[in-house]
């Protein structure tokens, strides 16, 4: 079976899921099965088919599993968002269409994605501006104590970090391709620790600094973990030096510890994470109420969950964005939540597979970076909701409600498929 036919068949689970999901939610809500659920399913399936045909025409050799996995996650996401709020779901569907259009635009305009390297400094500057934009007065908006959104005229809000993560990965892939040899060759041993040459390592240090700044200015532990983690991963893959990673992690840990103990609002987040059930923190304004109720929602879910539409949403703050994983666990249980995580892992696996098949270092690093940053985003939000790490409000890719997230992740998918198509193209 050809790769594209495999992709086509891969869409079947997504189609079934979206139909079954809407059916479930409808039965729960209206106590009757309306054919609207089937209509939703059909429209969604048509969009996925359109995406598929487009890939068939433009990227015939691309990985056949990524698009179906994204369709699966997105269809699951639309059901979950619909379950929380039908208005949000309608908007989410519109964003989905826009995402699909941008996906196609990216594939057409960046057909030779290696041209992006020429614009790497422009890209990194834009990315960094986007990163600090939410902090600027008048534009930025504080949500749950963190500055992650900007207001767009028309009452919409927008999370620019979703795009800066892609920009930073493109920059790093390009920069590390150039300097990875020198970093290894010019490395010196100081006190038994191998250090890369400062000249080439400088920009990397700048990003470390920025991650720390993000931590302070944006009160955003999760995003800085995401960016910094992607940086270290790409550095490791590019140079093969574990010592760089160890030094980097140690530096991050020290920085995070210092900020966590000395900056009040970061410290408050740490406290909420450590003691969510402390009544004092629980009842405090902006305290651990959100974390604690996310945990309560999960515990109520148990192994199999309460069933679609059974959640008591008034008890879960931000159910369609930050806490959507808690809603999933509440309604579908440990098994449902694990299935979602496995779908993400499979997608990341296909991304890494693409990286290993790539024929040049830029492509490899780009695929590794994009997959890693995607995986870290899932880890940051799910880890936050499950209390593995302090909670930060990033979106759960393709599932959470959020326009920027859907669109940006479709661009990410487009780039991965572009790399994949080139690397799997038969050698003439």
């Amino acid at each position: 079976m050809s790769a594209r036919n495999r992709e086509l068949f891969g869409l079947i689970p997504a189609a079934l899921l979206v139909t079954a999901g809407f059916t479930g939610v409808f039965i729960q809500r209206e106590n009757a099965l309306s054919n609207v659920s089937l209509t939703y399913g059909a429209i969604f399936l048509a969009l996925c088919l359109a995406g598929h045909i487009f890939i068939r025409l433009t990227l015939p050799n691309a990985d056949p599993y990524m698009f179906p996995l994204v369709a699966l996650l997105a269809s699951f996401g639309i059901v979950m968002v619909y379950r929380v709020s039908s208005t949000d779901a309608r908007q989410q569907a519109q964003w989905f269409v826009l995402g699909l259009i941008l996906f196609m635009v990216t594939i057409v305009t960046c057909r030779d994605y290696r041209k992006l390297e020429q614009y790497r400094y422009l890209i990194v500057v834009v990315s960094l501006v986007l990163l600090v934009l939410p902090r600027l007065p008048g534009i930025g908006e504080q949500v749950n104590g963190a500055y992650l959104e900007i207001k767009v005229p028309g009452g919409l809000s927008f999370q620019p970090t979703e795009f800066s993560k892609i920009g930073l990965v493109i920059f790093l892939a390009s920069y590390l391709r150039d300097t990875r040899q020198v970093m290894v060759m010019g490395a010196r041993r100081v006190l038994g620790v191998t250090l890369p040459p400062l000249k080439h390592f400088g920009p990397v240090l700048v990003i470390w600094g920025l991650a720390m700044v993000a931590l302070v200015l944006l009160s955003d532990i999760g995003s800085s973990l995401m960016f910094y983690g992607a940086l270290l991963s790409m550095l490791y893959v590019a140079t093969g030096r574990l010592s760089f990673v160890v030094i980097g992690l140690a530096a991050f840990a020290i920085g995070a510890w210092y900020l966590g103990t000395h900056i009040p609002h970061v410290n408050a987040r740490f406290q909420d994470w450590q003691h969510p059930f402390d009544p004092r923190l629980y009842h405090a304004q902006g305290g651990s109420f959100q974390v604690a109720n996310g945990i309560f929602a999960q515990s109520a879910g148990g192994l199999f969950g309460l069933g679609w539409g059974q959640s008591i949403l008034s008890l879960i703050p931000f159910p369609q964005t930050d806490m959507i994983y808690a809603v999933i666990t509440n309604e579908l249980g440990l098994f449902g939540a694990t299935a979602v995580l496995v779908a993400y892992l499979l997608f990341i696996y296909r991304g890494f597979k693409t990286a290993t098949l790539a024929r040049d270092s830029f492509s490899t690093l780009l695929a590794v970076g994009l997959s890693t940053v995607f995986g870290l985003q899932v880890f940051v939000i799910v880890g936050g909701v499950t209390r593995v790490i302090p909670l930060t409000g990033v979106t759960l890719p393709f599932i959470s409600y959020g326009g920027a997230s859907i669109v940006a992740n479709f661009v990410l998918l487009a780039l991965l498929l572009l790399v994949s198509d080139r690397s799997r193209r038969p050698v003439p």
Binding site: G240, L334, Y344, I348, V388
Partner: protein
Amino acid sequence: MNRQIRNLFGVIVIMFALLIVWTTRWTVIDATALNNNALNSRTLITALKVKRGRILTANGETLARSVKRPHTVFWTRTYPQGPLFAQAVGYSNLARGQSAGLERYRLDDLKGAQTTLNSVFGPLGGNQDVGDDVYTFLDPKAQQLARQELAGRPGSVVALDPRTGAVLTMYSNPSYDNNHPSAPCSDACQLNRATQGQYPPGSTFKVVTATAGIDSGKYTPDSTINGDSPKTISGVPLNNDNNQSFGPITLTKALTDSVNTVFAQVAEDVGRRTMTKYMKRFGFYDLPPIDLPRDELAKSRPYNAKGRPYLPASPNEDIGRIGIGQGGLLVTPIQMAMVAAAVANNGKLMEPRLTNKVVDPDGRTVRTIDPQVYDQVMSPKTASEVNLMMRTVVDEGTGTPAKLGSGVPFAGKTGTASIGTTGSGLTQPWFIGFAPANDPKVAVAVTIEKTNGEFGGQVAAPIARDIVQTLLSEGK
């Protein structure tokens, strides 16, 4: 670079594994503790969605039921009989976390067995959120009569089936409207005086002293004891009523005329240890073993002048005065009903219980609360002897006002404990008993708080008589 990519993927797999482990921690490992966490209002909201079952009288009258709050999916409780059954039924306001009585004690039954495993699509067939009905033994007629005859005076009426421990009547004054438990009220209206009120039992306690004396083998009903007044007990002179001296009389005659000096001597002679042993067998020193929340129960036992309980058989207690129901002894009305019931049931004391059975919404009996033996307090022989002694009390002694018109033999004992400061003239009148004495079906205890010198035979005995008569005519 492929080796590094493989390693990196390994790290990501480990991170995702962590996420699954943590999710498992919340959904499975710590789930029970989290579901019961005080901050977790989810459990409460789930509970509010359940239509709890009814609480009913023996003949099926509704004492508590669920009503839907308008325009919501939540249920609240309403109590059609209000104050008449408030102490036994209690109330339950889940949203405020306030509850009492059977409403609290039987909450799990009233909520029913809730299924925890729902399908992905939730409950498709029927409503599972309906609880079970709880049937009590309470008799509405006798209950109504108790309220009527107490006529607003603070006090308590308890009636038991001595054969099973079934609580047939439990009413106390003042009562409260359990539909509005937060409404302010005076005189501790929410105190369930039947199980929580603590009063000196006065001469009704002589039944316990007589049991200890006879069952220990030291006395028989015909033993002769000097009934002169006063007698020095624990270094202080003790008087009979009106300081009357009876001379040498039998134990039966002493009970019939309620001679204090005789029973004080018996208690001292039998001794603290033996008296305490029999008191414990009757249920003293223990919370009444009834199906009500622990904090609505009080222990019956002697207290010192500072209001602190004596250790059992403490050498500091005045066992002679305890033997006539004074000396700091404080008891609950249900404890005195248990004393009567133990004698009535051939010495075998049954644990009192309000609940008969739990019935599901389809009418199937889910479970029956079986009678439980508390203790064999005395031998059946002692029981029949004490039974006969108590019959003479009603036939020809202080308890004659309790005589049943139908000629059904009634065994009983009056009590009139002096309370308040010496010379205040305040009394706590009592009557305990059971009928028919030759085949006991009802045991009863009646007391009235703080009267101006009224006697148990005068005010408590007639109430007991009417309650017993009503319950017997109801076919109990």
